[in-house]
Amino acid sequence: MPIEKFTTLISTCVPLYAENVDTDQIIPARFLRSVSRLGFGEKLFYDWRYDRQGNHRKDFVMNDYRFKGEVLVAGKNFGCGSSREHAAWAIIDYGFRVVVSSSFADIFRNNALNNGLLTIELPERFLERLFNIIKSAPSTEVKVDLPRQLFEVLGGGLVEEFEIPPYKKKCLLKGYDDIDYLVSHSWLIEKWEKQNNKL
């Protein structure tokens, strides 16, 4: 089952100025009772987005009309904590296609990439400048160029190269899926099992 292909994207950003954003904030555990992958977007950052009565919290960035877009920018160690893939599903379901941070928790990064959500790691100083630019000019657009592995702030000349494992890059560009790869190699796995007394 192919994932959505990713090549380039031009978008405004939503700046979430917080470090160590854990998956319990991204999607609280009480919303994990679903048996489907869909519909988590409305619960994204639920306890930061809504107050006890279910009204929008004015002080949360996703409720600020000035900040819209398909790129979420957040502080270091984004996605730490629980392995729940629901966190990646919620971010995608809400409409984000890219998350930018100076570092990601390992399991979250894998979950994101496995669902076609691009995680981009940028140096802390670049991230700090990006936050400042977006804050002072919310309509600033950024360009994400996966083939060239470039993250560019349009109009300001600010550009930075980002790393992505070549295999994962290919998967995103072509829409390939790890599960299809593994299933197509089950003959090899079975052969290895026989050689290694695993059967």
Binding site: E19, V35, K76, S103, I107, N110, I189
Partner: protein, 472 residues
């Protein structure tokens, strides 16, 4: 440093590589796969859509644990969606021939307690589960790590994962823990020193007398908390403590198979000249009973310590602390000792094993639960519960005014009805004090089982050693 010397991680990893994609990840074979009701339904749904069956059903073990009730288990779940997940786990296991430890099974429990205690996890194995605390199983001398649901689907479909080899870190712990200080305190001490992201991208091996002198239950606490410093997983090389623990377990090898397995396992420990990308060292003798005051596990201090002043912190760290302290209702510079406690939670895959219940009981013996404190004692498994009853631990708890419940993840992540009410303070032996983790607005203070017991008896944050001294 000798070129051919390998770490235990290298040895296990290399022995499970099926194939490496040129300049890409490797196909890593998985020996043991655990699943539970919350992160597996979408994986089975994916298999169905692809028309793929489970590749090696005998290597997957299922447990219902995350949203199960810890009281009145004979009644059906009050929550319909939670019930649907548990029923779906049952149906999926039946359809694919997967062994299930269902809610009414005598070996039901938290997946990371049940797996090791049945000998399903063994030294030298690769172990995964759709749960970040899978790192617990590393205590057996295995490579164990948490995965997402897409990866659960990969393992179901192929018994393998595509993985890049992580970097390796060694954390050496000199000395031994003092009386009244537990493995949990050691980990809160380490994490509060190094931060919650220090080990991101690394797999950790714990070494030194501070680790080898620990029991298996304590080693599991250590490995369990690895993820809270960002590590992919943590492990302890197998030794006689490990072998004694594993021997005779239901799923462990026996007879000649045992001898052969032991031969293999004894070769696993890291070679003297093996390379680590990073090495850290700690002194167990300096560790005091610890407690968290903030909203991540690195925000921890000694029970006799103070909540830090934030004026001189870096701007981002200060902002995080300011937000955390406002959430917790604490002020910089305050003492944590003496703070009022409303709830105490003893349990979880971090501290829900028999040793933890024994530690708690040792402190409350002959005392009474404090008025106004609600205490939830949730054993990690049915086996732990039975053992607590047989050993008289349950009786001590009962005499002191406590009730022992049935196993499950319970108030660690509050998916069931065990939720800490908004604004209330809970001393919890679990692993995460994130905002709302134990229920919306709940204020969690992580600690070890002795500090939890001290809070349950006094109704406030107390250094457990003060009560231990009075007991003499």
């Amino acid at each position: 440093m000798a070129l051919n010397d390998k770490t235990i991680f290298d040895k296990i990893w290399d022995a499970h590589i099926v194939h490496t994609i040129p300049s890409g990840p490797s196909i890593l074979y998985i020996d043991r796969h655990y699943i539970h009701e919350v992160t597996s339904p979408q994986a089975f749904e994916g298999l169905k859509k692809r028309g793929v069956s489970v590749f090696r059903p005998g290597r997957t073990f299922a447990v219902a644990d995350h949203n199960v009730p810890t009281r009145h288990r004979h009644l059906s779940l009050s929550d319909e969606s939670g019930r649907e997940q548990i029923e779906m786990l049952g149906e999926n296991c039946q359809r694919h021939g997967i062994k299930l430890f269902s809610l009414d099974h005598p070996q039901n429990g938290i997946v990371h307690v049940t797996g090791p205690e049945l000998g399903i996890t063994l030294p030298g194995m690769t172990v995964v589960c759709g749960d970040s605390h899978t790192s617990t199983h590393g205590a057996l001398g295995s490579i164990a790590f948490g995965i997402g649901t897409s990866e659960v689907e990969m393992v179901l479909a192929s018994q393998a994962l595509l993985q890049h080899k992580p970097r390796q870190m060694r954390i050496n712990v000199e000395g031994e823990l003092q009386e009244g200080v537990t493995a949990k305190d050691l980990m809160l001490h380490i994490i509060s020193t190094v931060s919650t992201e220090c080990a991101a991208g690394y797999f950790v091996e714990y070494t030194g007398p501070g680790i080898s002198k620990l029991t298996m239950d304590s080693r599991m606490t250590v490995c369990n908390m690895s993820i809270e410093m960002g590590a992919r997983g943590g492990l302890v090389a197998p030794d006689n403590v490990t072998f004694d623990y594993v021997k005779g377990k239901e799923y462990a090898p026996s007879g000649e198979d045992w001898d052969r397995a032991l031969d293999r396992w004894e070769k696993l420990p890291t070679d003297a000249g093996a390379f680590f990308d990073r090495e850290l060292s700690f002194d167990a003798r300096k560790v005091e009973p610890m407690i968290t005051y903030g909203t991540n596990p690195a925000m921890a201090v000694e029970t006799g310590g103070m909540i830090p002043e934030i004026d001189r912190m870096e701007p981002a760290l200060r902002a995080a602390h300011d937000k955390a302290l406002r959430y917790m209702g604490f002020s910089p510079g305050e003492k944590v000792k003496g703070k009022k406690v409303d709830y105490v939670f003893l349990g979880s895959c971090t501290n829900g094993r028999i040793e933890d219940l024994r530690a708690f009981a040792s402190l409350v013996k002959g005392r009474k639960k404090a008025e106004g404190v609600t205490v939830w004692i949730v054993p990690g498994s049915m086996q732990v519960r039975r053992q607590a009853c047989d050993e008289g631990v349950a009786k001590i708890l009962e005499d002191a005014g406590f009730e022992m419940r049935y196993p499950g993840c319970s108030a660690c992540l509050a998916m069931n009805e065990d939720k800490i009410p908004r604004g209330k303070y809970a001393v919890a032996t679990s692993n995460r004090n994130f905002e709302g983790r134990q229920g919306p607005g709940a204020r969690t203070m992580l600690a070890g089982p002795l500090t939890a017991a001290a809070a349950a008896i006094t109704g406030k944050i107390t250094d457990p050693r003060e009560l231990q001294q009075n007991q003499l």
